[in-house]
Amino acid sequence: MIGYNRLRRFAPLGVAAVLALALAACAQSYPNSTFTPHSDLGRSIDFLWNRLMFFGTIVFVLVEGALIYVVIRYRRKSEDVTPPQTHGHVILEITWTLIPAAILAFIAVPTVRTIFETQAPAPANSLVINVYGHQWWWEFEYPEYKFTTANEIYIPKGRTVDLVLHAKDVIHSFWVPQLAGKRDAIPNHTNHIWFTPDSNMATTVWNGFCTEYCGDSHGEMHFRVVTVTPEQFASWVTRQQAPGFFGPPAAPPPTAIASASAAGAATTKSDSAAPAAASTAAPAAAPVAPVYGPTASPALLASYVLPHSEVPEYAIPHTPLPDAIKFDDKLTGDPAAGEKLFVGAGTCNACHSVSGNPLAVGTIGPNLTHVGSRITIAAGMYLNDKAHLSRWIKDARIMKSGVLMPTLGKGQYDPQTKATMPAGLSDQQIADLVAYLQALK
């Protein structure tokens, strides 16, 4: 008496579910939706998904329908009736074995076909990007152009990109839901995932996530993928290949740029500094002069980065600042002083590289050569602005759980060592560092 009346109430729930799904498939407010693929791989998967959904819905409706039907139709009305004591039915058993088998065949065949299609070696002219998962950030290396960046990649629309996945510590997994499925980055393994971003989509930013649990800050191991036109991409590459420059634009002698770009190449783990496509050719053996001070050419400064104003809302992190870190936001910093601190008292160079600066070649942390042009810091956790940068430098360990970067602010509490830093950077020094980093565009 209870069952069937209430079961009816679930009809609206089912309808709501279907509606919500339809909504999910199109709405703009789902920035990480897998239902709006923007690549060939994404669409192959979506095709399978639709087929799975189709048969899944049929099975669901039939089974739940039959269940509700029998429960209502054969409900007990009187305690005295004895139903026929049937024991089974051979034809029925065979039928409900064969029908699911047939359905599965319709699923299995395209599945296997898609597996072999999507796991074939990537086409020859693909853009190779070496991806290294670290606890808890991403290192991206463009071997073709010989530069390294972190937590943010640009890929040209219409060209196949072949991501070669490695891991430096534990297992991570690379996922940009709008572009493709996941692939794990596993130590001692090399994995591939490749796809071609649609050439007709907008220049925009996609969110990416680490999807294999990798320890404390697995939840904050994001990255951004910027899909750009081939021209924008070429322009962006020029900038990335240049050494870290800061300060007001000056007109340095051409040789400075050339040797600087060789220095940049030297930090990319490659002995042969073969001339990169978009950069000025430089002799590999050119002596590397330390590049201090403002060095950027106007041409380089004009090269492409996605303007912050064009970054969609969903790609801008909203992680609140921890209250525990106090910083005097009114301080203004001096980039040149910041640079000295970077390779001096700040000891930042122990872990970070800034190409062009031979003293800054650390590889434990992200490459900071053009950090000022990135949207976020700390693997997508915080917005890349002064407020966040300064607190990050002051006490990264409060900003992000388990992080390897030490607490550097003077008198700051380090939650990992459970100790207060006796020495360290003053707020003014941090402001200088921030000014330097922000200038590294």
Binding site: I2, N32, G56, A66, T111, P187, H192, E212, D216
Partner: protein, 626 residues
């Protein structure tokens, strides 16, 4: 009201005169010593039930914290470190400390009764299994209270679990704790295999065995075949962490996929270990409340066997993103799909059981319907995972979380609740309150869907699992909020259950031997059963001895139902109570904890454990008989 249930059984379904419903109900006695030393499978079953419900509550509270944290974006109710411990322990607790032992409670209580035995084959080993479970459970659960809980997820992928990346003692507790718990399951596995093969009453042929016992039988084989593999995988990790071996050391050339394969060779059979007992319970409940034998009994058995067997050939479907290559992906994808066929057959046969029957909605049967409807949803999302390219968008997202809660909560837990409402009268001699029970069901059913259905969306809309928080503006807020409110409602639903459970234990209406008019052997004896279960071993001539009206069945039922006499009066020899299994288990757990505490403890407790075993093996099980 008090008489209604049994009076309403139609004439042919009560082929013998039922004994009057007792006004007082036997209890198991309250002496603590009596519980610690017991070897009675029914008391051990009850211990399993209470302990597992306790751990279920613990796992549930952990789930509530998870949901509270994820109820909105950028929440910091708990830190990332704490969150990671909580979700790890939530998964570990639910799987190893709640569902498996809840199933074990039924194995213990029901199997001997269903096959017409006086106890399990090795009663002391049985007690040993329980004590290991309890102590191992505490061992693995307590550290989280001190902020040192295991924190690498319930499948603890290497190399994250190695000393290099988890230098703390958190993972030590996990490795050692699971190692201990494995011993409990293995010991119970051998025990039940032997029991079911060898202690069936005369005439209880395999094809007359109740379906619950059949599913339990299959599960025991899966346990004894699956657990050794994880034992070895854990043993490697234990050696790595405590003795400096290299199994999972990346720098030495170790392959992280070794752990994954070994774990999932265990892990996938494990999920059927979790659900087949629930399938068995439902296969007892639905016929009873439809007044019809189970539809397609032999097919149900064969499909169970097939599921068990196929279950060993699909493990790598948890690894579609690791890059195994197209051949392996295809093979494991297709074998995984095949499992849907025998499982579907089960679903259809349950529907066939209700069809043409006389379905009565009770708490037990509603939960059984809950299983059929919700497990189907989980199964369908499982099939969606089984297509490797499609799974690349689903794996490690909340879509998977939705899948496995539909099969685990919608399957295992729903089935176990059906089992509890169904067998409570048999276990404790008292009825549970039906009104509260039905309220519990409807709240649970609604809240369960409210909690887990939105996860399908959040997952496909890009939300990874195991993240302690997420940013605003990702399109996930509404779904998470719904999930969280659903989880709160689930908790409220559980309060109804708890109240009902404890109230009924104390003052439920006396049940009598067969309150539901069920057909199998366990209902032919008093509730709760006397220590010896059957005054005479029944002579079984049919699948539903109480329904099919065979003379021999009726006769044994008539005798067994009415025995109010003690074992001595009947001259039945029962095993002694003994503390030795407890001691052996205690020292075994102590020995393992020596790995963390200090190696001297290993040797000291190993010696004590050997003594306990020696005492156990050299003392007789039961009084000498002439």
């Amino acid at each position: 009201m008090a008489t209604s249930v049994i009076e309403t059984i139609p004439a042919h379904l009560k082929p013998f005169v039922p004994s009057p419903i007792p006004t007082t109900v036997q209890t198991y006695g309250t002496s603590i010593w009596g519980w610690i030393t017991t070897t009675d499978h029914k008391k051990i079953g009850a211990l399993y039930l209470f302990t597992a419900l306790f751990f279920f509550l613990v796992g549930g509270i952990e789930a509530e914290i998870i949901r509270a944290q994820l109820g909105g974006p950028n929440r910091h109710l708990v830190s990332a470190e704490t969150y990671n411990q909580i979700f790890t322990m939530h998964g570990t607790t639910m799987i190893f400390l709640a569902i498996m032992p809840l199933s074990a409670a039924f194995f213990n209580f029901i199997i001997p009764l269903q096959i017409g035995a006086r106890d399990v084959a090795f009663p002391r080993l049985n007690a040993f299994s329980y004590w290991i479970y309890l102590l191992g459970g505490l061992f693995i659960s307590i550290p989280i209270l001190f902020g040192h809980g295991p924190n690498a997820g319930w499948f603890g992928y290497a190399p994250l679990t190695t000393k290099a990346y988890s230098p703390g003692i958190n993972i030590d507790f996990w490795v050692v704790g699971l190692q201990i718990l494995g011993i409990s399951s293995l010991a119970a596995g051998f025990n039940f295999i032997t029991t079911i093969i060898n202690l069936r009453a005369p005439g209880m042929s395999l094809m007359r065995m109740p379906v619950f016992t059949w599913m339990a039988f299959i599960v025991q084989f899966m346990i004894v075949l699956a657990f050794p593999v994880v034992t070895i995988a854990l043993f490697f990790l234990l050696l790595d962490r405590f003795f400096g071996t290299q199994f999972y050391e990346v720098a030495s050339g170790g392959d992280p996929l070794l752990w994954q394969h070994l774990f999932w060779i265990f892990g996938h059979p494990e999920v059927y270990i979790l659900v087949l007992p629930a399938f068995g319970l439902v296969s007892e409940v639905l016929p009873t409340f439809s007044k019809k034998p189970l539809f397609g009994y032999p097919v149900m058995i064969y499909s169970g066997i097939l599921i068990g067997f196929l279950g060993f050939g699909v493990w790598a479907h948890h690894m579609f993103a690791v890059g195994m290559g197209p051949i392996a992906d295809s093979v494991f994808g297709v074998t995984t799909m095949l499992i849907a066929i025998p499982t579907g057959v089960k679903i259809f046969n349950w529907i066939g059981t209700i069809a043409q029957g006389q379905f009565k909605a009770t708490s037990a049967s509603l939960f059984a319907i809950g299983l059929v409807s919700l497990f189907t949803i989980g199964g369908i999302s499982g099939v969606m995972h089984s297509s490797p390219p499609a799974d690349l968008q689903q794996t490690d997202s909340y879509f998977v979380v939705a899948h496995f809660h539909y099969v685990l909560f919608g399957g295992s837990i729903m089935g176990i609740f059906a089992g509890i409402y169904f067998y409570f009268p048999k276990m404790f001699g008292r009825m549970m309150d039906e009104k509260l029970g039905k309220t519990h069901f409807w709240l649970t059913f609604i809240a369960m869907n409210l909690t887990f259905f939105p996860m399908h969306f959040s997952g496909m809309l890009g939300m990874p699992r195991r993240i302690y928080t997420y940013d605003a503006g990702q399109g996930w807020e509404a779904f998470n909020q719904t999930s969280t409110w659903g989880a709160y409602l689930l908790f409220v639903a559980s309060l109804f259950f708890m109240y009902n459970f404890f109230k009924s234990l104390r003052s439920g209406r006396p049940a009598g031997p067969n309150p539901w008019g069920a057909g199998t052997l366990e209902w032919t004896i008093p509730s709760p059963p006397p220590p010896y279960n059957f005054a005479v071993l029944p002579n079984v001539t049919s699948r539903y001895p109480l329904w099919e009206g065979k003379q021999a069945d009726i006769e044994s039922a008539r005798i067994n139902q009415q025995s109010g006499r003690s074992a001595e009066e009947l001259g039945i020899v029962l095993p002694y109570n003994t503390i030795k299994p407890f001691l052996a288990a205690f020292f075994l757990v102590l020995m393992f904890s020596g790995l963390i505490v200090g190696h001297w403890l290993i040797f000291a407790s190993a010696a004590a454990m050997v003594l306990a075993f020696y005492g156990w093996l050299t003392s007789p099980l039961e009084p000498e008989h002439h």
